[in-house]
Every structure is written in C-alpha cells, then in structure tokens.
C-alpha cells in the first residue's frame, strides 16, 4: 500500500481543520472582515463606472497624442469635466459627462484629429444618467428573486437550517466582496455586477457540495451515541476539503487566464472587470462555505431537539468512559471518534493509539 497522501489523512481524520469546533474564531475573523467592508463602503464608497453614474467614455487605440493633448482637445467640446488616462495597452481613455449624439461625434472627431487615428477606430460609450439606476434596480431585483428561489430550493433539498446558513454565507460573501471593491477602488461596472451575481451561484455551488456531504454522513445519526453531530459534520467537511480546494483551483485557473490576458492585451474592459470580481468572490465563496456556512449550519442544527438529545448522550457516555479510565473496549470505540473529529478533545486523545487497518497490516 502506498504512503498516505494529505487527502487520505483528511479522510481518516489524521489531519484536518476543526471547522466546527473553532467556530468562534472563524466567526470573529469574518466579523472583522465584515466590519472593515462595511466601514470601507460607508466611508470610501464604490468607484462606480459610467454605466452607473452616466457619462461618456472614449477609447483611442494606438494613440500618438499625450494625455494633456487629449484632455484639452476634449475640453474644447465639453467645457470641463474630462478625465483622461492612459492604459497599459497604449490606449488613451477619455471620460466625460453625458453627451448628446452631436457632442459625441464632435469629441470623436477632435480625438481622431489630435491623436492621429481614424474616427472609426475610436470606441465610444455614452450612458444616460438614469440608466445606472435602472441597471442597479435590475441587479437588486435579480438578486432578490435568486435568493428567494435558492432559499426554496435549499429548504426542499436540505432543510431550512441549511438554507439559512447558506444564505448567511452568501450575505457574508456579497458584503466582503463589495467591501474589497470599496477598499481597493476597483471600478464597478455592469461586468463587475455580472461577476458578483455569478459568485453568488458559485459560492452556493461550493456550499451545496459541503452540505450534501454533511447530510449524507449525518443520516440516521440519532441512532447512535458515540459521535456528536458537530463531530460528524466536521469530519464531513474535512473529507470534502480536497474536493473544495480542487474545484476552486479549476474554477480559478480560467479566471486567472482572463485576468492575465485581459490586463495584458486589452487594458481595462469587460473581461478584466468580470474576472477580477470572479476571482475575489471565489476565494471568499470557498472560505465562507467551509468556515461560515458549515459551523453556522451545525450550530442551528444542534438546537434541534433530537440532536440536543444526541449530544447529551454522547457527552454523558464520554464522561462515563473517562471515569472508568481507558480500557481496551473504550479504545476501540473512540478510534472512530478520533477519525471523525480531529482537534476535538476525544479525538486527539485517542488518535495516536490506533492506525488504520491497511497500515497496520503492512511492514
């Protein structure tokens, strides 16, 4: 038999993270992150793109003009309020207040002349001031409908406690992602919005995978009195840890590819905005399904009557064992506890005593 991999050790419980037992620590970390995010949102606000604020943006590719040249040329048409930046890929980006079609054409013409490019080569986007509110309200509408449907689905597929935990994790993801945007000043565009909404789906995807495993492992748990609900759930999370990490890697790889290509070839734009939002959200989504959704689901679940009864049976049984001392029969029983609950008191005590059968049988 081969040497054990990390995945094997997670499976048997020889290594692992005490996701459930140390809930207080994870919640504290999340609480700090949430506070920072809300603070950033309140005090710094979001750097909203023109799609939300209204305005016009022109991108001049392969421009030969300097930034001040482009600014003064544009200001000749718009009378102030012009922001000109140069992006990595040699693109001069000019942002103004909302313009009429005639003004837009004038700006295109002067920029083409100043920067020595054909007018057709200039990309322009003009957004009316009310459209942003429309997009925002649609986004919120989509969010609300999505959350209602997801709550229904999770309540049916799992149960309401899991649905509540999943939703709390979602809220956590949204707030922190928005907070990161406020903190870093990354532009928020409709593409970012797409990213946000995709993250919600993705964060849930991860949570569903974890919850599915917990549900499967805790089926009929009340029929025994060796393991508490929290211990079984914690083992479940550790067993899906490899899966969670791998799926996150495969999801992040293409997103990183978009970021690299987007930043390198195109400069700012739809692809980059979207990919950054996705990357940020995916990290947080994975974190929250393991460290927020799971402990929360266990806490909610542990208030359930039959689970409380189970936990009482488990602890009284252990108290009894402790009084009798560690005899051989108890060691056999606690071995499975050890496998189930790394980091928990019972587990660490019993763990070194017994190796898995497959190992014991080998040289």
């Amino acid at each position: 038999m081969a040497r054990m991999t990390w995945g094997d050790r997670l499976y048997t419980g020889q290594s692992g993270i005490n996701f459930v037992g140390r809930a207080r620590l994870w919640f504290s970390i999340s609480a700090v992150l949430l506070l920072i995010s809300i603070g950033a949102l309140v005090f710094r606000g979001l750097n909203l793109g023109i799609e939300f604020t209204g305005g016009a943006v022109f991108a001049v590719p392969q421009a030969t003009c300097s930034v001040p040249d482009a600014r003064s040329a544009t200001e000749g048409v718009t009378e102030g309020g012009v922001i000109v930046t140069e992006t990595g890929a040699g693109i001069v980006r000019v942002q103004t207040e909302p313009l009429t079609p005639v003004q837009t054409q004038e700006v295109i013409d002067v920029l083409a002349q100043t920067c020595n490019v054909r007018a057709e080569a200039i990309t322009s986007q003009v957004v009316g001031p009310t459209w942003g509110a429309e997009i925002t309200s649609k986004g919120i509408q989509a969010l609300v409908v999505f959350l209602i449907l997801v709550t229904l689905f999770l309540s049916i597929y799992f149960e309401w406690r899991f649905a509540v935990a999943a939703l709390a994790a979602l809220a956590h993801d949204i707030i922190i992602t928005v907070g990161i945007y406020a903190l870093t000043g990354l532009p928020v565009t409709p593409a970012t919005l797409i990213g946000f909404l995709t993250i919600l789906g993705y964060s849930l995807y991860d949570t569903v995978v974890v919850f599915d495993k917990i549900r499967e492992d805790t089926k009929g748990i009340t029929g025994q009195s060796v393991l508490s609900y929290a211990e079984v759930a914690n083992r479940s999370v550790n067993q899906v840890l490899v899966r969670s990490i791998n799926t996150s890697i495969t999801s992040l790889l293409p997103v990183l590819a978009i970021i690299i290509v987007g930043a390198g070839l195109l400069g700012a734009g739809t692809l980059l905005d979207l990919a950054v939002a996705l990357a940020v959200g995916m990290f947080i989504g994975v974190y929250s399904s393991l460290f927020v959704a799971t402990p929360l689901a266990v806490i909610l679940k542990s208030r359930q009557e039959d689970i409380r009864a189970l936990d009482r049976r488990v602890s009284s049984r252990r108290a009894g064992q402790a009084r009798r001392g560690d005899d051989d029969t108890a060691a056999g029983e606690t071995a499975s506890v050890a496998a189930a609950a790394p980091g928990s008191a019972a587990g660490t005590r019993a763990q070194p005593k017994r190796q898995p059968r497959s190992k014991r049988g080998k040289k």
Binding site: K138, N246, A335
Partner: protein, 592 residues
Amino acid sequence: MPPSTPSSRTGVTARPGRLLIIMGVIFALLAAWAFWPGGDNRVRLGLDLRGGTQVILQPRAVQEGTTITDAQLAQTVEIIRQRVDGVGVAESEVTVQGSGEGAAIVVSVPDVSQERLVELVGRTALLDFRPVWSLAPPASTTVEPPLDDTAASQDIAVGDDTAPADGAAADASDDTAAAGGASASADDTAPKTSAAIVQSPENDPAFTEKVAALDCLDPVNQAGGTPDDPQQWLGTCDQDGLAKYTLEPAFIQGTNVTGAVAQLPQQGVGGWVVSLTFDGEGASALSQASQELYSLPECSPGGPSPCNAFAIVLDGVVVSAPRFNEPILGGQAQIEGQFTAQEAQDLANILSYGALPVTLDVVEVTSISPTVGSDQLRAGLIAGAIGFLLIVVFLLVYYRALGIVAVLSLLLAAAMIYFLFVALGKTIGFTLTLAGVAGAIVSIGITADSFIIYFERIRDALREGKSMRQAAESGWLLARRTILAADFVTLLGAIVLYIISVGNVRGFAFTLGLTMAVDIIVAFLFSYPLTVLFCRSAWMQKGTWLGGLRVGVRSSDSVGKRKGKGRDDGGGDDDGPEGSERAETETAEVES
C-alpha cells in the same frame, strides 16, 4: 436489475456502452443541427466582437399611470426595424429585452455612426390626422404627368351606413419612369437618412414652391422618419410614392385615437375595414372636420384645393388618405377601401400604436470599431485557450490517467457548446458577446468541478474499501446528486439573470446556463460511463500511481460501521448494500 454486469453486485445498473451510444447520438444530432445546409455555419458574433454601434432605448409610458403592453413594444420594435432597414445596412438587429416598464430595446447596427443611429431610432413615431389641402403627382417637377387615378381611394363612413368603396386601387406607379429624372431634394440640408418634408406656419408661395420641388419618387422620402410639427402646414409624400400632399395643420393627434381594429363589415360586401374610436377631444375635432370637409370636391392630383380627404400622417409620411362620405358625429368611424386582411391589420396597428404610446429614452450608446472588436475576440479566445490548458495540466497532474477522461469530457463539452452557438445563432439569432465568451471560459472550470466531485467520491469509496469497479459505480451515485444540485443552483442563477437583466449581463447568463446544461449531459452520458469502463480495465484495477486513483487508506472498520448504522433508516438510491461491500473489501485488500 440484470445480473449480467459485475457491477450489479453493488445494486447499480451500469451500462456504460448504452450511455455512450446515447451521447454519440446527441452529439451527432447537435452537429447536424448546427451544420445543416443553409445559413451561416459560423458563430454569430455580438457587436463588441465585430464592431458596430449599439443603442439601448428605454420605453416610457407617455401618460402617467398607464402601462406598456407587449403589443406596444412589438410595434415599437417593428417601426424601429423599418427605420434601420430603411438605411440599408445589413445584419442590423433590433430586440426587446424584458417586458413592460423594465423593458429595453437594443438596436445593434454595424457600420453606422453613433450619431446617425441615435437620430434614426431615438425618436418617437408621431401620428396625426390632417385635412388634405391639395394633391400632386409624386415627381419633383411642377409639370403634371398624366394621372388616371387618385391615390386617395378610400372612403370613410359612419357606423353601418356603408357607402360602396371607390374600388379603384391607387395605381400611379407607371408614372415613375416619366418623372425619374427629377431628384432634387426639397431640403438639401436634411440628412439623407430620413425623409425630406416641407413645413411652414402659413400656406405661402415659398411653401408651395418647396412642396413642388419635393421628390416623392425618392425612396428615402417615402420611408418617413422625420416627425412633423402638427401645428404647421406640411408638404410630404405618400408612403408608396404615389402622390405628393399639401396638408393643413393637424386636427387630431395620434393620442386622440383610443382604438383601431381591423374587421370585416357586419353587412354588405367589400373587403376589410378599419374601425376607429376617438376620445372626446378627437371626436369633436373629427365631427367638426368632417362637416367642413365632406362637402368639398374630391381630391385628385392637381385637382381642387382644398378637397375632401384627410391624411393619416405617421412620422411625416402619409400612410392613408381617406375621404369623408358624410359628417361623423359620434366619435366612431370606419375606414373602407380595398384592404386585404393584412393591410387592414397594418393600418389598424399604425392607428393604434403609430403615435407610440411610449416615449423612447436613449440610455446607452456604444460604438466599437471592428479592429477593437476583433482584438477583444482574439483576447477572449486566447484567455479561453490558456484557461483550458491550465485546467488540462492540472487534471493530468492530479488525476493522471483518469485526467484523460476529464480532458476528453471537457473537449466534448467545448464542441457541444460550439455547435449550440452556431445552431442557436441560426435559429433564435443568438449572438456571442464578450461577456458570453467570459461565461464560456468560466464554465470550463465549473465543468471540471463535476469530474473532481466524481473522482474524489471514487477515492472516498476506495478508502472505504470498495474495489475499483465498485467505487466507480457507488462514487457516481453520490456524486451524481451533488453535481445535479450544484449545477441546478448555478442554472437557477443564470435563468434569473437572463430573465431580468439586459444587454451584456444577459449574454453572460445565457452562455452560463447553456454550459450548465451541457455539463450535466456530458457528466451523465460521457464522463460517468467512460470512467466506469476505465475503472473496469485490468490496469486501473492495479491501482497504480499512474492510474490516478491510488489511495493510501483502505479501511473497512470505523467509517464503514458508522455508515452502516447511518443507512438503517433507508437512504434512497445512494446506498450500496453493506453485505457486498464487506465481501468486496477482502478482495480489494488482496488486490492491493
């Protein structure tokens, strides 16, 4: 369950061959659908990938408190489409996204400057009714070509008191050759994208002269699109280019029309008619105008002025010019003529919606050069290729031989997505935008997630002590549910986004939803059976490092026992019978 397959011992009916055949059939059908002769066999690219101009318009009800119906939206789109097509650009696209107040009309046109497109589509179509002052031949000369018929061939009558229709269809088209030489526009400063009209506060000689110079044989001048000021005199063309009208200021606005329906007359013969109802203001105006007009002589080209007809003017062009048979006092009128059902319906639509009860706000204008478009496409494809490559490397490194199954599945999914893009482009006009490309790239990762969930389940099953071929089966039963649930959540998100959102977001949601569906098909009909076949091979059974499924733990003690207990309360299709698991454990350990 047939006992023929070895896997039946685990309570699973696995027929990998059959599933693979179903997959093959689906794949072949999809390919045939995509590449069926006729139409373009390439993916239709959106505006941001091929360059062009896009305008997003937001409809708003004219009157407070009224709502926008789907019929009104459809009519608006139709009018805009006519205007855009009138400019003669290929591949223009007018779509409605959403419905009611939240709807947006997206107009995408390649090769038209943003200024022109906004000018073209951003206007509200204007409908008014004007008394005809005089009628002239369409050409731009003052010389009268012979005309043997009148363009105003329709009658208007009250209620059921129907006068026989004139019967003579307007037919002045044989004059066009004679007058073809004259093409000077009445108003040279007007952009050629929309019709030239002549307006003046008074019917003065300058006005008459300009009207005489108007060329109604020019198709642009027949297309309409230049809204007229209802308070002023108007010189304009008939929409078929059959006549030129001098019209008095409007007596009824389009908003005074409360209803118009195409119907067959209740009695008597004759074709379809269009019944009109007016609001109070419209009814009294109609009553007054009809009393003044019906006693006048009949209109004819070069004939008397004023004469007995009124023109229905839409966007500055005359769509119909019936005469009054008698005064209309009740606010209800009927337009008769030699209408076909289609013509009557069209006229009724124009009368109902012509003065669009919606105001269109231009909310976003985007113009992208073809070079930038192709750059974006290239960047998207490169990003996709890099992302794909990274995942392939990861899968092969982590799952080794089994990774090949995953990579094949990814390739199959990619091919199916491509076919769907082509097929949907042909059938429902699906266009791939940059956001859609991003959605497709992101979905590569999510598709790969399915294999990982499955493969890790197989490893878990192996650790529980199951044999390789058993693990492939029982691992699937558990993974299947998770994959379905997780994909369903993403699909749900995609559908909600698609229904509610507009523009870019919508393209992304559509692509994402599509790939989720493909992911499920590929996972169930390809990855799963292929993995099962793979795991049945003697080589995989050895559990070598290269196989990708070697695990360091083969236990049947603690976990198995506890799970056994857990399953006592009956766990659906996801439980492998404990007995066979036990038996298999022994062999598994011998094998390893």
